[in-house]
């Protein structure tokens, strides 16, 4: 430090007085213990934060798809005989199922935090069933659509959007089943340690939210 001025340098420089050259990997036990005390013991759990950031990124993928779809729809006319109209009944039921599943997942979470493990597992199972029902409904819709993947621009975009979302739902259902298995008595997830459940719940709400937007843009608009 070349400066004489008080307060213009770093205010706290304990490390300056550290031994100049430590062997690279060897820290003795005492020091390691000290490290624990002020280092990683204070390391906050950032996994949910990380997941949320990832979901922002994932949401941007959907945003790109939505933007592409809306632009196509605005400027690219479809060939004769095809239209943007879709059958509404099944998708509407599906929407209700998925929104309901968000509620059930929330109940599962609050049950676990209240210490009711078996209640949590029941609600989780319900959520999983609702998700599976959604996927089944999606399949039924696919098989009854008048168009295939490459028929026209709308068809391709429709399958890309719903398919990409369906992939997310499938992944979500798998996660729910894993969480359900882990929430058994003596499993990894319990009243104290329930990161897995919270992560799955956050993800599931995200997937639901995307569906609501998708439903609005693709089916209602």
């Amino acid at each position: 430090m070349t400066s004489l001025a008080p307060g213009s340098g770093p205010t706290d420089l304990q490390a300056e007085s550290a031994p100049p050259s430590l062997p690279e990997t060897v820290l003795d036990e005492a020091q390691r213990g000290e490290t624990h005390a002020d280092g990683h013991a204070a390391h906050p759990d950032l996994r949910l934060f990380g997941l949320a950031t990832f979901l922002v990124a994932d949401g941007m993928t959907f945003a790109g798809f939505f933007a592409a779809y809306l632009t196509f729809r605005a400027v690219n006319p479809l060939p004769e005989g095809s239209s943007y109209e879709l059958e509404l009944l099944l998708p509407t039921i599906n929407t209700v199922l998925l929104v309901l599943s968000s509620v059930t997942f929330h109940r599962a979470g609050s049950n676990l935090r209240d210490g009711n493990g078996s209640g949590c597992r029941s609600w989780l199972l319900g959520t999983g069933v609702l998700g599976a029902a959604f996927l089944a409904g999606q399949m039924v819709e696919y098989f009854n659509l008048p168009f295939g993947l490459t028929d026209n621009l709308f068809a391709s975009t429709f399958y890309a959007l719903t398919g990409f979302h369906g992939l997310h739902v499938t992944l979500g259902v798998i996660c729910i089943l894993i969480v359900w298995a882990q929430a058994r008595p003596g499993g990894r997830i319990n009243q104290q340690d329930h990161f897995g459940l919270e992560a799955a719940e956050l993800y599931w709400h995200f997937v639901d939210g995307i569906w609501v937007v998708l439903y609005g843009i693709l089916y209602l608009l």
């Binding site: 001025a5 213009s8 690219n76 006319p77 060939p79 004769e80």
Partner: protein
Amino acid sequence: MAIPPTLITLLVGMVLVLTGLWVGQNVQLLPLDASANAPVYDSLFQVLFSIGTILFLGIAGLLVFSLVRFRRRRGDRSDGVAIEGNLPMEIVWTAIPAIVVLFVGIYSYDIYERMGGMTPLNDHGAMHGMAMASDSSAAADGGTQQARVWAGIGQAGSAGALPVELTAMQFAFIFHYPEGDITSGELHIPANRPVELRMKANDVIHAFWVPQFRLKQDVIPGQQTVLTFTATKPGSYPIVCAELCGPYHGGMRSTVVVHESDAFDAWLTKNTPAPATVASAPLHPTA
């Protein structure tokens, strides 16, 4: 005798501005200006060139001066002065660039308007976009005029424009004159008469660029595009494809020949085919 620093700064600034203006006026980096909008473009270029020169020389000069003037002398281990900021100064050098770019933006917008870039493209009839995408190949003859125009640069008051149809394909430009039914691999146009180039691409994206006209327009498959311009100086200029279109992209060149008005009429008459003969104009893409 000591000269006050403010005076030196003022003098340096004036020299800098004068240098920039001189460079903008006198250093010629652009090719010949052979269309009506080229001189307009060149005046924008001059302004940008002047501003750029002033900024670049100023900053580079200041940097070199600092490196020499404030270099650490041998053995000197002391620090510089602890100046952490100066808000008024920072506001000044936020405001000045903001004003400069705002001025440049508005000025270039004005230039663009004079080039015809802001002309609405679809005011000549209803938007018949519907059939566009599905049967773009069938629309090759005649039907195109009704199709939606997606993009382009127009010029206000281009009545009496010479219509030419341009088809871009891998790896050639084909020009077709509806008046006289001539097909040619070179573009022949009269000087001082607007030309309306209706462009379409058959396979991939190409770009029609004539450096001497300062004009470029991508030719995008499935999107009818119109480019209106007026050539002013007779001569031959290159037409260059400016969008990567495949292996022979670099060879996708042609020529635009600007004729005097009567020479063009002669060319038109000479090349108007007797029924069922092929146009005599050369078809070499690299001509």
